[in-house]
């Protein structure tokens, strides 16, 4: 499809701001002024509408396709939360209004939402306080590791040097730890997908700043030795960090704060069904227990004795400001409405049905694809296409086959410790019929890998593009319309 820039016609207009109603025509002094107009497109509003409508139709999305992308929790995003986030009482609210003296009185509704959501998140996770400031999961991780560093600093402990991370971790874990100044040590998993306790004990010493763990892990396994692990880490005054990427499997079944964790972040788009936006905006609130509360970012939202919600900056040991304002507020509004509607029982149901659906798919595909950890899984299951790979059909080929079946592929090649990984997360919002069709197509792919493996190299056949040359993209950098083709 043509680029919007290629549809440009000199002099064409898409929007009219109207004539000026003030009797002034000012000029930017020469030297400060732009000498050439920004070469933005010149297109009509209809051009823009057709262009982006047609582009949208080239996407697979939850609204249009089954999207079992493991570790990403592509569940249905309710429409009413979208509508609520678009109320002008939220969209037109300037963030600095709350910082004017007496400004809380003009922003009570917004502050109440932040405050109540914090209370609920504490109750759901077993933590003492939350900050809503982090703007995405990875941003929450960085915030969390800085809280860890602030704690060790407050203890006068200068020996802390390493953060321990299991091999099943998301790449953001080591990247976040490194940004905050820590080195990382990777611990292997045992044959059941749990943490190798011997390897952990061997790695832990007084230089251990903390442990980052995703529970259930990215293998879809709840760590059975969590209490023992937390004892090992706490014995050296390390901090137990819970990566909340998979909190959706645990709602009402276990709380990180109860099982030994000191600190966590929550990926709101996964558990609380805020839309993924094609890659954000997300939100990554961070929760802590009493030990770490005083280091949380400012400002914090408090409820004063007179019942008024207000911003509070008076935390001398706070790590400071981690984002410009109070978090991705419009995303948090959606999460707030979602929690309000579902309530206690509804939230527990999300975990129940996410786990049920994941186990159903695992059971049905078990005879055809190698299961990495043959046990009950949590909200997602990990297979290896190793048998198919022996026939020359790799995980990526199966993914491309599924695209032709109008199914978004599962996550492939992650976790990186599993060769030919295929990670499937159906989520609680999908029906048995949808999953049965997916299972049927996966079985068909396995059969085809036996009868005609060569066919896979052609897939997908039904899409506007087919197997983009990623090597060329990285070698001949063309990341803007204005760069020459090479």
């Amino acid at each position: 499809m043509e680029l919007i820039f290629e549809k440009s016609v000199a002099g064409r207009r898409g929007f009219d701001f109207g004539a000026s109603d003030v009797p002034v025509h000012a000029h930017i002094p020469p030297g400060y002024a732009r000498t050439q107009d920004a070469p933005l497109p010149e297109v009509s509003e209809l051009d823009v509408v057709r262009h982006y409508t047609l582009l949208s139709q080239q996407n697979f999305s939850v609204d249009t396709h089954f999207y079992p992308l493991g570790s990403c929790t592509m569940k249905y995003n309710p429409k009413f939360t979208e509508a609520l986030a678009r109320l002008s009482g939220f969209t037109d609210l300037h963030p600095l209004l709350a910082q004017l003296s007496g400004g809380e009185q003009w922003t009570q509704g917004a502050l109440q939402i932040l405050y109540e959501l914090e209370q609920w998140m504490c109750e759901m996770t077993g933590f003492k306080h939350f900050t809503m400031q982090p703007l995405a999961g990875a941003h929450g991780e960085l915030t969390g590791i800085m809280l860890m560093a602030a704690y060790h600093k407050s203890q006068g402990n200068t020996k802390k040097k390493y953060v321990i991370i299991p091999d099943s971790a998301h790449g953001t874990n080591p990247a976040s730890a490194a940004l905050a100044g820590y080195e990382t040590i990777t611990i292997p998993s045992d044959k059941n997908g749990g943490m190798d306790l011997q390897a952990l004990k061997a790695a832990v010493n007084e230089q251990t700043a903390g442990l980052m763990m995703t529970v259930p892990s990215t293998y879809g396994v709840f760590e059975p030795n969590i209490s023992e692990i937390s004892k090992i880490i706490h014995a050296v005054d390390g901090i137990m960090y819970y990566d909340g990427a998979n909190l959706n499997a645990l709602l009402g079944r276990a709380r990180p704060g109860d099982v030994g964790f000191d600190l966590m972040h929550v990926n709101m788009h996964k558990t609380f069904s805020t839309p993924h936006g094609g890659g954000g905006p997300g939100a990554g609130p961070v929760g802590v227990n009493e030990k770490l509360s005083r280091f949380l970012p400012i400002s914090r939202v408090v409820k004063r004795p007179d019942g008024v919600y207000a911003l509070d900056y008076d935390y001398p040991e706070s790590i400071g400001y981690t984002a410009s304002f109070y978090g991705h507020f419009a995303i948090l509004v959606r999460a707030y409405a979602y929690v309000l509607m579902l309530g206690k029982e509804g939230l527990i149901d999300t975990a129940n049905h996410a786990v049920l659906n994941a186990n159903y798919i695992m059971k049905k595909l078990g005879p055809y694809y190698k299961i990495c950890f043959d046990r009950i899984c949590m909200h997602e299951s990990v297979f290896s296409a190793s048998r198919q790979a022996e026939r020359g059909v790799h995980a990526i080929d199966i993914a491309k086959f599924l695209i032709d079946q109008k199914i978004h592929p599962p996550t492939v090649y992650f976790p990186i410790s599993v060769p030919e990984a295929i990670m499937i997360e159906p989520t609680e919002t999908e029906s048995k019929q949808t999953m049965d069709r997916f299972i049927e197509k996966m079985i068909e792919a396995d059969k085809l890998s036996q009868s005609n493996p060569a066919a896979f190299k052609e897939f997908p056949l039904t899409m506007p593009s087919n197997r983009p040359d990623e090597v060329k993209a990285a070698r001949d950098v063309k990341t803007s319309f204005f760069l020459p083709d090479s």
Binding site: M1, L3, I4, V24, G31, A33, P39, L40, V49, Y52, Q57, F60, D63, M74, F80, L84, H94, P95, L97, S101, Q105, W106, G109, E123, G126, A149, G171, S176, E183, T184, A254, V259, S273, H276, G277, G278, G279, G280, P281, T322, S324, Y326, A330, Y336, A337, M341, E345, G346, K363, I376, P409, T429, K432, P460, R467, P468, A473, T479, F481, F482
Partner: protein, 445 residues
């Protein structure tokens, strides 16, 4: 109940039977009783209507009916209806990061167009596909400059937003970087002080145009000097102003960042916004964040992919250029649509309206006794006024007259309690500006 769970009790029974367990609880057998929640005391669920009523009431508790003259880097611009109409298509907002390019060409091409438009605006050669917000984008740019130069000294111009500076301080206070802040003199950057501080240890100088006080500047001379000692220059910019202002590329900037909220995003009480970053082509592999690139597919057709992923956390883990994963793709899409529909001429006209209305406001305010409009440097759509009394008191009094009068600079600058930062966008009418001036006069009398 949970209306978004699809399966009927009968289907649940069939699935349990297939799995070979009695009930759903059996699936949680790995979670031992000792790990059960000590409490899970949440409110009971509500109907959609009950939630709509409650959240709507909360929205009404926010005062969005005052006429805003408040900016500080976040502005009340008009958003053409078409922006929201297209960006709220489910095909865009319920998709995820384009891991499978064949079924994400819509998102990928839109992000490529966003990157192209940001290059058009800033004059730079490459852009990433977005970061979080203006403040965190500046942090990422600073880290990029430190990595590239291997130096640890950062010169921060006093005109850079104090909101951004606080964020940079948070992320670096535990690291051994040396920060030097230079003052603002007559509204602009102090050449003398910058000259004194620039040396061969300097990794980067960070500048902002227009600066926090609203003044515009031409940093060409400063950037030339920075380059002469091997330092890099970051310029943080306000996108709408680039309809009229000299581009950071023309000034010689190495990395350009900024807050993209003005490009079609609502104020949203602080977010989500749009952090952007642009740089020279030769630095593209040093840049953090996702980048979309053009390539050819197996049939030789043009298509788009996430590219240069070897920089990123999911490949490089602790050696990545950043830990960023999810960014703000949907906001970048909104900005792309905004820039397309406003277009080449529209952006210039929008910027001119901002300039003219702010100049009109300056003229009216300077006629008020006791009000001094600072005029030592040219401005775009925001400017600083000196009041005869504490600006925060004036702002409070103006609120009851229906105006968000501006941002009192004393909040961030001790000693500037009588200074008020006033923003005037294209949305403010002549009548609103006149009423604002009249109300200010009454408040001061």
């Amino acid at each position: 109940m949970n209306p978004y769970i699809t399966n009927t009790p009968q289907e649940v029974g069939q699935m349990l039977e297939s799995i070979g367990v009695e009930n759903i609880d059996a699936l949680f057998a790995d979670i031992k009783p000792k790990h059960s929640p000590q409490s899970f005391d949440l409110p009971a669920g509500l109907s959609e209507y009950e939630v709509v009523r409650r959240v709507t009431q909360l929205a009404l508790k926010n005062n969005v009916h005052v006429v805003p003259f408040i900016g500080g880097g976040y502005y009340d611009h008009y958003i053409p209806t078409v922006v929201g109409a297209l960006a709220s298509r489910g095909e865009f907002y319920t998709a995820y990061t384009p891991y499978q390019p064949e079924c994400a060409q819509g998102t990928l091409q839109a992000l490529f167009e966003y990157q192209s438009a940001m290059c058009a605006l800033t004059g730079m050669a490459v852009s990433n596909a977005s970061l979080y917000d203006g403040g965190t984008a500046l942090y990422e740019a600073m880290m990029m400059a430190i990595r590239m130069t291997g130096r640890h000294k950062v010169i921060m111009d006093g005109g850079v937003s104090p909101i951004y500076r606080k964020i940079l301080k948070t992320y670096t206070h535990h690291l051994s970087y040396q920060f030097a802040e230079t003052p603002v003199v007559h509204g602009q950057s102090s050449r003398e002080e910058i000259d004194r501080l620039l040396d061969r240890d300097t990794a980067v100088i960070i500048l902002q145009n227009p600066n926090f006080f609203g003044s515009i500047d031409d940093f060409t001379d400063i950037i030339k000097k920075a380059h002469s000692v091997g330092a890099l220059a970051i310029v943080s910019v306000y996108p709408i102003s680039l309809g009229l202002l000299k581009t950071p590329a023309q000034m010689g900037a190495d990395i350009v960042t900024g807050e993209g909220q003005s490009l079609g995003l609502p104020l949203n009480f602080g977010g989500p916004y749009l952090g952007f970053m642009c740089t020279h082509k030769k630095y593209v592999r040093k840049m953090p964040g996702r980048i979309v690139g053009q390539t050819l597919d197996a049939k030789g057709e043009r298509c788009f992919v996430n590219t240069l992923q070897a920089r990123e956390q999911h490949i490089r883990r602790d050696k990545a250029t950043s830990n960023i994963c999810t960014n703000v793709s949907l906001c970048a899409l909104q900005a792309a649509i905004f820039m397309a529909v406003v277009g080449k001429n529209g952006l210039k006209e929008m910027a001119q309206l901002n300039l003219d209305k702010a100049e009109f406001a300056k003229q009216l305010l300077s006629k008020i006794k006791g009000v001094e409009v600072k005029r030592s440097a040219p401005t775009f759509n925001e400017f600083t006024v000196h009041l005869p009394v504490d600006a925060s008191h004036v702002v409070a009094a103006m609120m009851s007259r229906g105006f968000a009068a501006g941002f009192p600079l004393g909040r961030y600058y001790p000693g500037m309690e009588r200074y008020l930062l006033v923003a005037v966008t294209e949305k403010r009418t002549k009548e609103e500006i006149e009423r604002y001036a009249k109300a200010l006069q009454e408040v001061l009398n």
